[in-house]
């Protein structure tokens, strides 16, 4: 897959993941390794919905590889607004670029787009579907802090719509990881993700209460619970507080617990946690650049 497109974490094998993470570690240690390797090449950033950080992170990665980026501007001003199909849009943009990054509000859009282009395409989020490049940087951060085998991870928050969670849970099935999912009943993992975990024989348990598992965890991956997911404000308020962590909540946790979050956070993690050595979410965000450099380098055939 990695010579081709990156559409879903479900397609990532352990070897694929390790190839990217090892390369990212090498790039992280010595950026000169890949400096200017892709001079003259162009990455198209096709963001059909706004995501400043993911976009900037890819932009930074491509520029550090010596390449250039182009983007389609805001969707409002583009031909998409005039009703052009995604299939047509990506076929046109393919002519301008050596690789593409796609963010789109519909599930399955990255797979569809990849069927119409020959240049490598990276899914940077398709609706509530997948966000596999985020997963690679999450895995990188987990590996740096806790290792990727024989660990226990808790994944907490909005597990239903959280695409980063779906990609991460699937990717983790390649490793010896015990996965605990903590969420309100209404925001449980969707059926298709549970199906994949089951098929992969993953060690999985679901909880509504963090306390049940917190002491066992090596990693706690927190995601945002969005207010708009609840039909009534009251229902949101009932659950929101239960899935917020601060130093008091974490007092039962292992000293070595690694706390992660794909960011942006609202109030799921109290700022006081930032000061502790457990907080790795900013490090996680920074890892986006070397991991995306490694990914683009591999997809563009640079490390052959």
């Amino acid at each position: 897959m990695l010579q081709d497109h990156l559409i879903s974490a479900a397609h990532l094998s352990r070897d694929d993941i390790e190839a990217v993470l090892d390369h990212a570690a090498a790039v992280d240690a010595d950026p000169d390794l890949v400096r200017d390797r892709h001079a003259g090449r162009v990455l198209a950033l096709c963001f059909f919905e706004p995501s400043t950080r993911t976009k900037m992170s890819f932009e930074s990665a491509m520029k550090r590889l010596g390449g250039e980026t182009i983007d389609m501007g805001s969707v409002e001003s583009s031909s998409v607004k005039k009703g052009e199909s995604l299939a047509d849009t990506v076929r046109v943009i393919e002519g301008y670029a050596d690789a593409m990054v796609l963010r789109h509000p519909s599930e399955g859009s990255a797979k569809l787009a990849s069927e119409f282009v020959d240049v490598p395409l990276v899914n940077a989020g398709d609706g509530a579907g997948q966000h596999p490049s985020q997963t690679l940087l999450d895995l990188y951060t987990i590996r740096e802090n806790a290792g990727l085998d024989d660990i226990t991870i808790g994944i907490m928050g909005d597990l239903k719509y959280g695409r980063t969670v779906h990609s991460l849970a699937q990717a983790l099935t390649n490793f010896d990881v015990r996965q605990h999912f903590i969420s309100p009943e209404s925001l449980r993992l969707p059926r298709n993700v549970r199906y994949d975990l089951h098929e992969a024989g993953a060690q999985v348990r679901e909880h509504t209460d963090l306390d049940e598992v917190l002491p066992e965890l090596d990693v706690l991956y927190v995601t945002r619970i969005q207010r708009e997911r609840f039909p009534e404000e009251r229902e949101y308020l009932e659950v929101a507080g239960e899935y917020r962590i601060d130093n008091e909540v974490l007092s039962d946790a292992s000293d070595d617990l690694t706390v992660m979050h794909p960011l942006p956070r609202v109030d799921e993690i109290a700022p006081e946690v930032d000061e502790t050595k457990r907080a790795k979410y900013f490090e996680q965000a920074h890892n986006g650049v070397p991991v995306r450099m490694a990914l683009l380098d591999i997809l563009l055939g640079g490390n052959e």
Partner: protein, 161 residues
Amino acid sequence: MTDKELRVSKIRDGTVIDHVTAGQALNVLAILGIDGSGGESVSIGMNVPSDKVGQKDVVKVEGRELSQSEVDVLSLIAPEATINIIRDFDVIEKNRVERTDTVRGILVCPNRNCITNADEPVRTEFEVLDDGVRCAYCDTIIREHDVAEHIDARGAGETAL
């Protein structure tokens, strides 16, 4: 042919879909895109006693043979079905349906936010699981007993191409 099967009239040329899971005959018509408006002559037997399966449905369609994708979806809702091609009142070919790995066209993804429900030049594609099907684009799973609900009788899953 047994007496029991004669409850449904014989046809000259066309297809007899026999041993359809009882209760699924109307869904079979939906898969075939038959709602009467096309003028086909159709006979249906529902809950016909059967030695093999207790009760079954039988669908006979005059002047029509089935496409592979139709047979593929049929295999999901009526895995025991046999497809008999009739020419001049004789069965000239008798086939069991076989479960395939993939069903293209015909089914519509229930996820409204799935890209296959947008106006894109693509056919729907579903991977067949043990107990249902899964959209190859958005991963949404349809359980086996719900599959019939997601048949696009107008065949829009096909015509998008």
